[in-house]
């Protein structure tokens, strides 16, 4: 997914890069820009078309020689490495500060983050200003984060006591850790779960205990996690649930992926969603109270009523 502005960023930096390194090898250029050689050659073709013939100095005329080295024929082309734009400085500085704030990070890593933040602030100058007013917060569970970071670095197996909300129970499992992910501000461990024999994401605030075992981890090659696919995978076995929400329950749409949404005249919503596990919806309905109810399936609506009645009984006898 590229757009014209992003292409322009790359093209201008490519000119600056080539100007600093006359005769750079095509494959080195490609590696520096994270592209394949064909894409860089296409960029060089585009640069050939640029310029105005009006200033003479602004024609670039790049060419690749028979040894695969790239030259800019107009050595006077004025593009030098350009200062950072506010959004560019912001993206790096905000992420660096957020990472440095992770508790449980190794000191060495935190120091490197701090040093590069300071250097970048200096280099960015006033472009760094807006970054001071923008922040990203990552929550960490300090002790388990550090244990897992170490387990991954040392390639060791972990034993987890892990809370499963739908059963409201703590389970024990042995996992081969792969990566620590920070998604939606929360840390997750991506691991191969030996108990489930599958790739699993473990939310760190649900890890009751993590123990480093003296066993080498050998996770099978698992597909990299793609956050775009969401934390919850849809399955054809999911059951369809219809909820009716009052205005006070509108927040549900922000937290639960849904299939259909209908505005209701009272300012409420009718949401249709699918879930692999009806108990998730039962808990949601109890949390909503008067701000929402399960319309279908009727068995689930009955279950919510039954659970609420059982809970009320405890207060009657208390």
């Amino acid at each position: 997914m590229s757009n014209a502005l992003d292409d322009t960023r790359r093209l201008l930096s490519l000119v600056a890069y080539l100007r600093e390194r006359p005769g750079a090898r095509l494959e080195d250029v490609a590696r520096a820009f994270g592209h394949d050689i064909d894409a860089i050659e296409a960029d060089l073709g585009t640069l050939h078309m640029c310029g105005t013939s009006f200033m003479a100095d602004d024609l670039l005329e790049p060419h690749v020689d028979s040894e695969g080295r790239v030259w800019l024929d107009n050595a006077d082309a004025p593009v030098r490495p350009v200062r950072l734009a506010p959004h560019e400085a912001l993206s790096l500085l905000v992420a660096l500060r957020a990472l440095a704030g992770l508790s449980g990070l190794r000191d060495r890593d935190r120091e490197a983050l701090g040093r590069v933040t300071a250097k970048l602030e200096d280099a960015a100058g006033e472009a760094a200003e807006v970054a001071a007013h923008v922040s990203v917060e990552f929550e960490t569970e300090e002790s388990s984060f550090a244990t897992m970071d170490r387990a991954i670095a040392e390639r060791r197996v972990l034993r987890l006591n892990y809370y499963v909300p739908r059963r409201d129970q703590v389970t024990e499992r042995v996992v081969d850790p792969v990566r620590l992910l920070l998604v939606e501000g929360r840390p997750y461990l991506l691991a191969w779960c030996r108990t489930a024999e599958d790739r699993r994401l473990f939310r760190l605030d649900r890890v009751v205990a993590a123990e480093l075992l003296d066993e080498a981890s050998e996770p099978p090659t698992v597909a990299p996690f793609d956050p775009a696919e969401g934390l919850v995978q849809a399955s054809p076995d999911d059951i369809e649930v219809v909820l009716e929400l009052g205005p006070g329950g509108r927040w549900v749409r922000e937290y639960y992926p849904y299939d259909a949404l209908q505005e209701l005249p009272d300012g409420g919503l009718r949401l249709t969603l699918r879930t692999p596990d009806p108990s998730v919806v039962r808990r949601l309905a109890l949390r909503l109270g008067e701000h929402g109810r399960v319309v279908s399936p009727p068995e689930l609506a009955d279950e919510v009523r039954g659970t609420a009645e059982a809970a009320l009984a405890a207060y009657a006898t208390a």
Binding site: S53, A95, P227, L312
Partner: protein, 330 residues
């Protein structure tokens, strides 16, 4: 065939950088092919204005002025290379790895182009950035909210912004004018902190609740309220989201159940084989959370929390929850 926009932008930048004097709009129009192909003055003006915005977003300062001191209208443009150069940046391998990690955080967001662009500039300046990982952490920050771009721009330019907002639980959306002070992403959601002109106080807004239409509009006027030196965005947002407790609650939790409540508890004691008693911070929204656990959790104290949970459960059970029932235990 239409000439790609990137070709036009690169030509414009190169021309303005190479210029040793101000270049007039007419000179640009006659020397850049895409501009020559514009069929009307209006079409050219629109294209040129957008291009100037894009060139600024790329980090260049475009100067305006006239070459002839006797001419008052500043209708010429140039970019001075010496004012737009990146100062030297020298990074050791660990620092470079830290930078690559930070840039990767925005992969799925509207800032991914900016983050990648920043790395390109640093690489062009000679910074070696390989991908040897710093830690095993892989951060991901999203900015899916369509209001993100306009509100960030308002914050950067220090202008009030007008948008239509539907607060949580509000039956209707309302137009708001806010003087932006800061933005923060907490648990994956973006928030704006600023001065709400209609309420005349500091407020927090959740970007998801800003309506797409009409689009947020940056007002061309200065901020009126004094901007505090230190806005603790994090604390503001946490309070907005109902975090933090003021009192203490005592609850009974069935043995083996309710781990998330236990994780928050300040004290736990075993009552008998079936029940533990927990003390935990009592703040906004605790009753909703407790109700989730159904019969596995019973509130002991304070009475208002008991009442709130009973009310919540009665509603879920389909029983009336009118005012007459408040304050009574079932």
């Amino acid at each position: 065939m239409a000439i790609p926009k990137q070709e036009r932008l690169v030509s414009l930048v190169m021309c303005l950088l190479a210029a040793r004097r101000y270049v007039t709009k007419e000179e640009l129009r006659s020397s850049i092919e895409s501009y020559r192909m514009c069929t009307s003055d209006e079409a050219f003006d629109r294209m040129f204005e957008r291009d100037k915005d894009d060139v600024r977003e790329l980090g260049f300062a475009i100067e305006t002025g006239a070459n002839d001191p006797l001419v008052e209208s500043a209708d010429g443009y140039r970019i001075r290379p010496e004012h737009n150069a990146l100062p030297p940046v020298d990074l050791d391998p660990e620092e470079a790895a830290a930078l690559a990690l930070a840039a990767g955080a925005w992969q799925q967001s509207s800032l991914s182009g900016a983050a990648t662009g920043a790395l390109y500039k640093l690489k062009a300046a000679g910074v070696e950035i390989d991908t040897a990982p710093l830690t095993a952490v892989e951060p991901r920050v999203t900015a899916r909210e369509s209001a993100f771009g306009p509100l960030l721009e308002a914050l950067r330019t220090r202008r009030p912004v007008q948008f239509t907002y539907r607060g949580s639980g509000a039956a209707e959306a309302r137009q708001r004018v806010v003087e932006p002070w800061g933005m923060s992403c907490w648990r994956g959601r973006w928030y704006l902190v600023g001065w709400a002109r209609d309420r005349e106080e500091q407020r927090v807004f959740r970007l998801e609740r800003v309506l797409d239409k009409p689009k947020p509009k940056i007002l061309r006027e200065p901020l009126r309220a004094p901007v505090p030196d230190n806005v603790d965005i994090r604390a503001q947002v946490a309070r907005f989201a109902g975090e933090g407790g003021e009192g203490t609650a005592r609850i009974r939790v069935r043995v083996g159940a309710g781990f998330p409540l236990r994780a928050r508890a300040t004290a736990v004691k075993q009552l008998d084989e079936a029940w533990d008693e927990l003390e935990l911070p009592y703040g906004h929204g605790l009753h909703n959370w407790i109700a989730e656990f159904g019969p596995d959790v019973v509130v002991v104290d304070p009475p208002e929390l008991r009442t709130a949970v009973v009310r919540q459960l009665r509603a879920a059970a389909g029983l009336p929850v009118d005012a007459a029932n408040e304050g009574t235990d079932v």
